[in-house]
């Protein structure tokens, strides 16, 4: 590979399809959650392409598509429409896919990678998924079977400029994209379930060239980040070999074969599709006011980059820790609750301490409550034991000094226990396990 890169620079672009997790499908009221359902039970005249059926767009899906565009720093079009993309395939019930052609919702965005490289986002548009094909043998004959439960589920297509020059950057971009759509809460982005489908297009040019190569090879429908990496690296090597002989690789679409980690040709140029796009006459145009776009912007949750910056400022975290904690929104939220809970305890662990604890111990946040984690941290920092009488004295003193707190505890406000616990911890300077102190306190208060 190193040898190749001395001679050629990869030119890579990416198309990603993200399936949205709306309740209903894109253009009809069928349940969009098809995973593991009985085949052909989530269909209606619209998504089955019955004669006469008409599409009506799902507002939430459109809003979510635009939010993805906003998160990728896109310009949002005030005037958009849907178009028909015409082609024949048994999994495409209408003989056309409703998509967007020349007026997508979002254009001209960018994403900055950790190495400072900016990747241009060409467009983000809305479309619908196809049915699912299953290939089987029945009585020794190969057949294909179709389940239309997936037909019409909302898909957002995100297209980048050919700005990548390595598979590693592509992978980082994909992780960022996955993180963003999860933060937005618009897709589970679960690779195993096909929520994200990846299509890199690859070509090589001589080092130092600036013009786009006169060909590109698309690899279709890959459903794992590492497969994308493998496919790209396979293609880079394949192209280099061909270019070395003085010819260009054929412009084509290829498929990735897991076994052998290679790609194989699918359609030759002669069969290149002519999709005959035209405006979808069944769906009126879509116009947004600037106010509507601003309101949508307002409703966006905090995104990973912003959260990371805030964690650094607000909690004095290192950039490294802030990055690790914000990769997964659930972990970031857990961390913040820990910090809040910790604030209730007078000898509380600092946020930096909590961050280190969560990261170093790889705390399973699905198993513990934030308060438990705080207890564990405090317990771990305890230096030595204390005898029962001394403990009793100290605790009694704490109770005497805080009669109002005791009253309110007895009145049912049991959460004030944390305050008393904190006071006791302060006096004990960490010489006893918080669980034990807590237990004692509860006994004394009973």
């Amino acid at each position: 590979m190193e040898e190749i890169l001395k001679k050629y620079t990869p030119v890579i672009g990416l198309e990603v399809h993200v399936e949205l997790k709306t309740n209903s499908k894109m253009f009809c009221g069928c349940d969009a959650n098809y995973f593991g359902e009985k085949p052909n039970t989530h269909t209606c005249p619209v998504c089955l392409g019955l004669p006469g059926a008409l599409p009506v767009p799902n507002k939430k899906a459109i809003d979510w598509c635009i939010m993805i565009g906003m998160a990728l720093n896109c310009e949002i079009s005030l005037v958009s429409k849907f178009d028909r993309k015409n082609y024949f395939y048994p999994d495409l019930p209408k003989g056309y896919q409703i998509s967007q052609y020349d007026e997508p919702f979002c254009t001209n965005g960018w994403v900055e990678l950790s190495n400072g490289k900016k990747i241009g986002i060409t467009r983000v548009h809305m479309e619908e998924d196809t049915g699912k094909l299953i290939h089987e043998h029945i009585d020794g004959n190969g057949v294909s079977l179709i389940d239309f439960n997936r037909s019409g589920v909302p898909l957002v297509e995100i297209v980048t400029e050919p700005d990548f020059d390595s598979a590693e950057d592509v992978k980082e971009y994909l992780q960022r994209l996955q993180q963003i759509v999860r933060y937005l809460g618009v897709s589970n982005a679960d690779m195993d379930k096909g929520d994200m489908r990846l299509e890199p297009n690859i070509s090589l040019r001589k080092v130092g060239e600036t013009k786009l190569p006169p060909y590109k090879v698309e690899v279709k429908n890959i459903n794992s980040f590492s497969f994308v990496e493998k496919a790209i690296n396979f293609e880079i090597k394949r192209h280099a070999e061909i270019l070395d002989t003085g010819t260009y690789p054929m412009q084509e679409t290829r498929g990735f074969i897991e076994a052998g980690s290679k790609t194989v040709g699918q359609r030759s140029k002669e069969e290149a599709h002519d999709y005959r796009y035209f405006p979808e006459p069944d769906i009126p145009p879509i116009e947004f006011s600037k106010e509507e776009i601003a309101a949508l912007m307002q409703s966006m949750p905090e995104l990973p980059d912003a959260k990371k910056e805030r964690f650094i400022k607000q909690y004095a975290l290192s950039a490294y820790n802030a990055d690790l904690l914000t990769r997964d929104k659930a972990l970031a939220d857990f961390f913040e609750i820990c910090c809040e809970d910790s604030g209730l305890v007078s000898v509380h662990p600092e946020p930096t301490h909590i961050a280190n604890w969560l990261i170093n111990r790889k705390v399973d946040i699905t198993k513990y409550m934030p308060a438990d984690v705080i207890m564990q941290i405090i317990e771990a920092s305890r230096v030595a034991g204390v005898d029962v009488d001394e403990l009793d004295d100290i605790l009694k003193k704490v109770l005497e000094e805080n009669p109002e707190v005791v009253t309110s505890y007895k009145a049912g406000k049991t959460n004030v226990l944390m305050f008393l616990l904190g006071q006791a911890m302060k006096s004990l300077k960490g010489r006893e396990k918080p669980e034990i102190i807590k237990e004692k306190l509860e006994k004394l208060l009973a």
Partner: protein, 99 residues
Amino acid sequence: MKIDIAHIAKLANLPLQKEEEGKLATQLDATIAYIEELSQIDTSKVEGTNMVTQTKNVYREDEVDEFTTLSQDDALKNAKHKHNGLVLVPAILEEGDNA
């Protein structure tokens, strides 16, 4: 102008007999010659009309509509070939979906 009938028929997914191709080619050439007169009209300053009424921004709320959903039986009732609740077609050699 001569239409590449075989290519258009392939795009339109229409199986045509040879003699049909010849007849259609003649007819289509005549129709195209006929509609060419449209090029006489100056439309350099005109936007196209996609939607003839002023209707715009029509949506559904994101709600599941049980009422329109078909049972598996109803969904497959008209399919000529099916197997285990799935619609059956001859084997499609080319792997991969066309999303």
